[in-house]
Amino acid sequence: MTTAGSRPTPAGRPTPPGTGGAPTPPGNRATGVTSEDLVTYALRLGDDALIMAQRLGSLVTNLPELEEDLAVANIALDLLGQARALLTYAGQLEGKGRGEDELALERDEREFLNVQLVELPDRDFAVTMGRLLLFSTYQLGLYRALTGSRDETLAGVAAKAAKEVAYHRDHAEHWVVRLGDGTEESHARMQAGLAEVWPYGAELFEVDAVQERLERAEVAPDLAALRPGWESSIGEVLAEATLEPVETSWEPSGGRRGLHTESFGYLLAEMQHLRRSHPGARW
């Protein structure tokens, strides 16, 4: 299980238009985007997956039933695999000798580019599943579109990940429907959980200058085009679950620029302390 070996290869995929099948260096003439933008993008996607995996991993042994411990561990493992591939790629593009571990375990709070949604603490199982529904539905649309990216590495990661997150989304839907339309108590808790995570969904579709350039180069999918599908897909689940859509004008944001919530520092402290306590050690 080497780092390099864990990165899905884009072999067998149809050659994207314009590359003529020739091997292209990362960051790169074929796509016309700068390495810097690509690094930012790989970190954004990789950090999303990593931090979500970290939150879910911390729940194992605390879930409502044994099967759920296993399902959540499985989802965390998938996300961790995505994070490793994306962070490894970011490190290669960056060219400063940083690998997945240096990026995950040695960066500071302000250098992480994940959305705030994934770092929210899991106060309640309804929060966990509501958040997973928002996030996995977004990831599913994103990865499916990203398989057509002109960046072959990203397209390869996305092809594998899209299959994984389809299962995550099914799992989240399974629970949101059962909690929403289960008992009176579960309905109330699911509605409250949804209210807690919903405002953070907007950040998933935020477009800044980097995102715009990547979209223009057909490296990143058009986020604005993905949003209606995300909204209707979640809307269907909420209807099935007898849950009310959340009305809010509050749209917290900042994660993509390294601005996070207060709880995030604690998450990093826990995740990073061992490696940081032993500078230069190998594990």
């Binding site: 194992v60 411990d69 493992l77 099914d170 799992h171 399974h174 008992t183 230069g280 050690a281």
Partner: protein, 341 residues
């Protein structure tokens, strides 16, 4: 349900009504099968004591897998590399899977998983005492893999041939995964032992703390073991506690040498005459204390397990209520929710 016994008297449970001599005949046939190394299957007749012994043993084994997820799960959020984090997550997930296979094996004997979990939560069934020790440093994850999974494999390989079919088959699947776990644990310690002085110290400290409790995993010495003789006759157990413990020591001492770590027992030395390693006396009082509830983590492990169960009650109730609505036709029914993928 047992097959028709052809006996009158419907007020009594059919399985308990046997004409004189019939039970002796069944017992004789059962013992013949066991002695011939044939498998007993759930629908076969079996002595009540055999059934009860198996339920107790399989349940204890299942509970151990589940409680064992806690000390290792304790390091998932703090693993020092993403690769180690992934391996640990997968390991903890495997242990939960082992618990599920084993609960299913126990269910073939006529108890439900819910009943067994209740017995665990109320303290009437136990789990392996090894999990009542804390995982204090990252090296403990390595020591558990190497020593605890290693001891478990030594115990469990003979169980693959257990006379009770479902248990033996569950053990075959489990043993394969346990040997991965052991190699991964060994690899953690190997890396630490060749790392910085502080890493090496961490590895040695973990081995010092886990060595004796691992030897205790094989249970009390043969002369004090209550159930052994009958379990052997029934083909549940194949080797005595002391034989298995010796086998573990013999395999592990050379591995410690390769690691370059010492074992915390000055009396370990090769005994040419016996063809085994000698080792020092085990503190059986410690095992008794930990088994009876006074280990460092007994209270913590049970409180954690019970809290997870209680905190999840509303979720399980919601799932049941939802299924009831589906069945009552209140819902249009199976929309593509669930595991379509």
């Amino acid at each position: 349900m047992p097959a028709d016994t052809g006996i009158e008297g419907r007020d009594q449970a059919p399985s308990e009504v046997r004409v004189a001599g019939e039970v002796e005949e069944l017992e004789r046939r059962f013992q013949e099968l066991v002695d011939a190394d044939q498998r007993i299957e759930p629908r076969d007749w079996m002595p009540e004591g055999y059934r009860r012994t198996l339920i107790r043993q399989i349940a204890q084994h299942a509970h151990s897998e589940i409680i064992g997820m806690q000390p290792e799960g304790n390091w998932i959020t703090r693993a020092p590399s993403l690769k180690r984090k992934a391996i640990l997550l997968a390991k903890v997930q495997d242990e939960g899977g082992h618990g599920i296979y084993l609960y299913s094996a126990a269910e073939t004997l006529g108890v439900s998983r819910d009943e067994l979990v209740d017995l665990l939560h109320s303290g009437r069934q136990k789990y392996s005492s090894i999990f009542n020790y804390p995982t204090l440093t990252w090296a403990d994850v390595g020591a558990i893999g190497w020593l605890v999974d290693g001891a478990a494999i030594t115990n469990q390989i003979p169980l693959c041939r257990c006379s009770y079919g479902p248990y033996g088959r569950a053990m075959v699947r489990i043993c394969k995964e346990e040997s991965f776990h052991q190699r991964q644990g060994y690899d953690i310690l190997y890396t630490l032992a060749r790392g910085t002085p502080r890493q090496r110290e961490m590895a040695q400290d973990a081995v010092n703390r886990w060595w004796w409790p691992s030897l205790m995993m094989f249970g009390p010495p043969d002369e004090a073991s209550q159930h052994s003789a009958q379990s052997m006759a029934w083909g549940i157990k194949r080797h005595s506690n002391d034989e298995l413990r010796q086998r573990f020591v013999d395999v592990t001492v050379p591995q410690a040498e390769v690691l370059g770590l010492s074992l915390p027992d000055p009396e370990i030395r090769w005994n040419e005459d016996r063809g085994h390693y000698d080792f020092g006396p085990i503190d059986w009082d410690e095992l008794r204390r930990v088994v009876s509830g006074d280990g460092p983590c007994n209270r913590q492990r049970m409180a954690h397990k019970v809290a997870a169960h209680e905190n999840g009650r509303w979720v399980r109730e919601a799932a049941l209520a939802y299924e009831a609505k589906l069945e009552a036709g209140y819902k249009r029914g199976a929309r593509a929710s669930g595991r379509a993928a």
